[in-house]
């Protein structure tokens, strides 16, 4: 039946929130700083990597995902799989196109 697996007492105190907030600030500074360097095609990859870390810690701590049950994790991760699917298949389609006009 409808079990209530949700952890009632989240293991997040004020210290953790402050630490996460500071980490977000630091990573924002890193993002701005790193924009000075040219990584060529990897510019977007580097920027997205840092943004993904920021999004992950927001989800894990501010949104309490770290302390949620398996079902919530499934609902949190499945959209990432769909995103992978959308980007992966779209890129596959684009890269395998044969140019009609040369």
């Amino acid at each position: 039946m409808s079990t209530h697996n949700h952890t009632e007492e989240h293991h997040t105190g004020l210290r953790v929130y402050v630490a996460v907030c500071l980490a977000l600030f630091v990573l924002t500074v890193v993002t701005v700083y790193i924009a000075k360097f040219d990584f060529g095609d990897f510019n977007i990859v580097v920027a997205m990597f840092i943004a993904s870390i920021k999004a992950s810690i927001v989800a894990l701590y501010f949104m309490h995902l770290k302390f949620e049950d398996k079902l919530t994790w499934i609902y949190a991760l499945y959209p990432l799989f769909l995103l992978f699917l959308l980007i992966g298949f779209t890129l596959m389609e684009t890269f395998t196109r044969v140019p009609v006009i040369k």
């Binding site: 039946m1 409808s2 079902l71 609902y75 959209p79 699917l85 779209t90 389609e93 395998t96």
Partner: protein, 534 residues
């Protein structure tokens, strides 16, 4: 009796409270269901009348009913947008989902009643934006394909903004239903005892929750492209018009299943009751809803076979498209097996259910043709597509919707409609539908393209037949509507709260049900479909 533990002492029906405020601020899932039912039915009628206008135009090869071809384009954009985004996507899921889910699982309401009301009001805001947009309508069709949607001088932004807002309603409803089904099931209502409509609603809710954001972002990109000329979809600026189609169909193919999976659930409820047999292959039907929901994310490129995509991708997606036929066929075979040696009662709702099986099978199998690459190249953007789509959407979803209206009418409103008139209306609808859309398979196969206001003489007999059919279909729907509306103004209650002898929980409470459904949360002791067992 599956649910003998239901006891009722209070019999004040949920409809007893009067006044506008009691409706616009209600958090009762049944009333919110009615609000959705009224709104979607209104849009169904408007979109249906637009279709009749289009069919009248197509009676002759020349342009005579509409003044210009653009007016015809506007008409099919209104028809498609209203039918898809305002009727059929929210359709069964929001109206019957709201009414039935808490009743069927033994709960007093959905998990978040206020968010439920918020969903409805967001839906209304979306419809208000769209109605405003209709004053300056777009001519892109419901798919808003680039580059035309970027270049056309009509008002694309307003209509896409309306659809964008609607998406939030869909997401909130899906989230609410998922939590409700997980958290509010009555004691004993295990997953293996759940009504199949609940399984279908759960699979639909997953799609609503996870696929809708993609179309929301896509339409925002389109708005940004038109407003700020950014270049997401413009090759001259490094964009790709095909990218729009990828994003759009990544949502819109799963959206086809948002439309039809709830109807699968309805058919699974109606057939065992009127065949007086346990549903055959319960688990297979339940799990196939999830299989469809999952596979539906893997097939979107089949809408784009002739848009210039790579042959490799097209071949892969042609194969993947065939896969979705498997879980769908599992359902059809199991419904048919349930009918076998059943004691069948041809109640009007059962007639709609049986029509569903026949018509949806035609729609589904022609979908397999279209999934085959070589065949699709010939048939793409012809009337074959129009016929296929309508056999799935009307033959499937709308037949399910009408079946549900007749099946749960007494429960929902506490009134009784004229069964003979209902059967006559069904007959007209069934005949009218087939006369309208079956000829379209032939003219599509012979090359008649869709979305044209004029056409060569050789197609006139098919078009004329199709238009006559639309009149029969329209008459049938009119008679059905009047037959269902008249009892609402008459006094009196049904003799029984469970006239069809259903074992499902919603039939164990009075008709119409009381506010909060159950005095005490019932304990479920048996399977919902244990017909014919002692």
């Amino acid at each position: 009796m599956a649910n003998g533990a239901v006891t009722q002492t209070q019999h004040i029906p949920y409809l007893a409270q009067k006044g506008l405020k009691s409706w616009i601020l209600t958090t009762d899932h049944k009333r919110i269901g009615i609000l959705y039912l009224i709104t979607i039915s209104f849009f169904f009628m408007i979109a249906g009348l637009t279709a009749l206008g289009m069919r009248y135009e197509l009676m002759t090869p020349e342009l005579d009913f509409f003044r210009t071809a653009t007016e015809y384009n506007v008409a099919f954009t209104i028809h498609g947008s209203l039918m898809v985004f305002f009727f059929i996507v929210p359709g069964i899921a929001a109206s019957f989902g709201n009414f039935l889910i808490p009743l069927m699982i033994g709960a007093r309401d959905v998990a978040f009643p206020r968010i439920n009301l918020l969903s409805f009001w967001i839906y209304l805001v979306g419809t208000a934006i769209l109605l405003f947009a209709l004053a300056q309508p777009a001519d892109t069709g419901w798919t808003f394909y680039t580059p035309y949607s970027i270049q056309t001088g009509t008002k694309v932004i307003m209509i896409t903004l309306g659809v964008f807002v609607l998406g939030f309603s869909s997401i909130l409803t899906g989230m609410n239903f998922i939590v409700t089904i997980h958290k509010l099931r009555a004691p004993g209502m295990t997953w293996s005892r759940l009504p199949l409509f609940i399984w279908a609603s759960y699979a639909t809710a997953i799609l609503q929750l996870l696929a809708t954001p993609v179309v929301g972002i896509t339409l925002l990109l389109l708005i940004a492209e038109r407003a700020f000329d950014i270049g997401f979809f413009d090759p001259a600026k490094g964009g790709d018009p095909i990218l729009f189609q990828n994003f759009f169909w990544f949502y819109s193919h799963p959206a086809v299943y948002i439309m039809v999976i709830p109807a699968f659930g309805i058919i699974s409820e109606i057939i065992p009751v009127f065949a007086r047999k346990p549903i055959f292959g319960y688990k297979a039907i339940a799990y196939s809803s999830f299989a469809i929901a999952i596979i539906s994310f893997f097939v979107w490129l089949h809408h784009m076979f002739v848009s210039g995509i790579s042959e490799t991708a097209a071949a892969i997606f042609s194969f993947l498209t065939m896969l979705v036929a498997i879980p769908t066929a599992v359902k059809v075979f199991n419904w048919t097996a349930t009918l076998y040696k059943g004691s069948i009662d041809f109640h009007s709702s059962m007639l709609y259910a049986l029509s569903f099986i026949v018509l949806f099978t035609v729609g589904g199998l022609t979908g397999v043709y279209l999934g085959a690459l070589a065949v699709d190249v010939h048939l793409h953007d012809t009337y074959f597509i129009v016929a296929h789509m309508h056999y799935v959407m009307i033959g499937g979803t709308v037949m399910g919707f009408f079946g549900a209206l007749h099946f749960w009418y007494q429960k929902w409103f506490g009134k009784v409609f004229n069964e003979l008139v209902a059967k006559a209306a069904w007959f007209l609808i069934f005949v009218g539908f087939n006369v309208t859309f079956f000829p379209q398979f032939f003219m599509g196969y012979q090359g008649m393209p869709r979305r044209y206001a004029t056409y060569p003489e050789e197609y006139i007999s098919y078009h004329a037949l199709s238009t006559y059919g639309s009149w029969i279909l329209g008459l049938g729907i009119l008679i059905m509507t009047v037959n269902l509306l008249i009892p609402l103004w008459k006094k009196g209650r049904p003799e029984s709260s469970n006239p069809y002898g259903s074992l499902s929980l919603e039939w164990q409470v009075p008709s119409p049900p009381p506010h909060e459904n159950f005095d005490e949360i019932p304990t479920v002791t048996d399977w919902t479909y244990a017909y014919g067992k002692k």
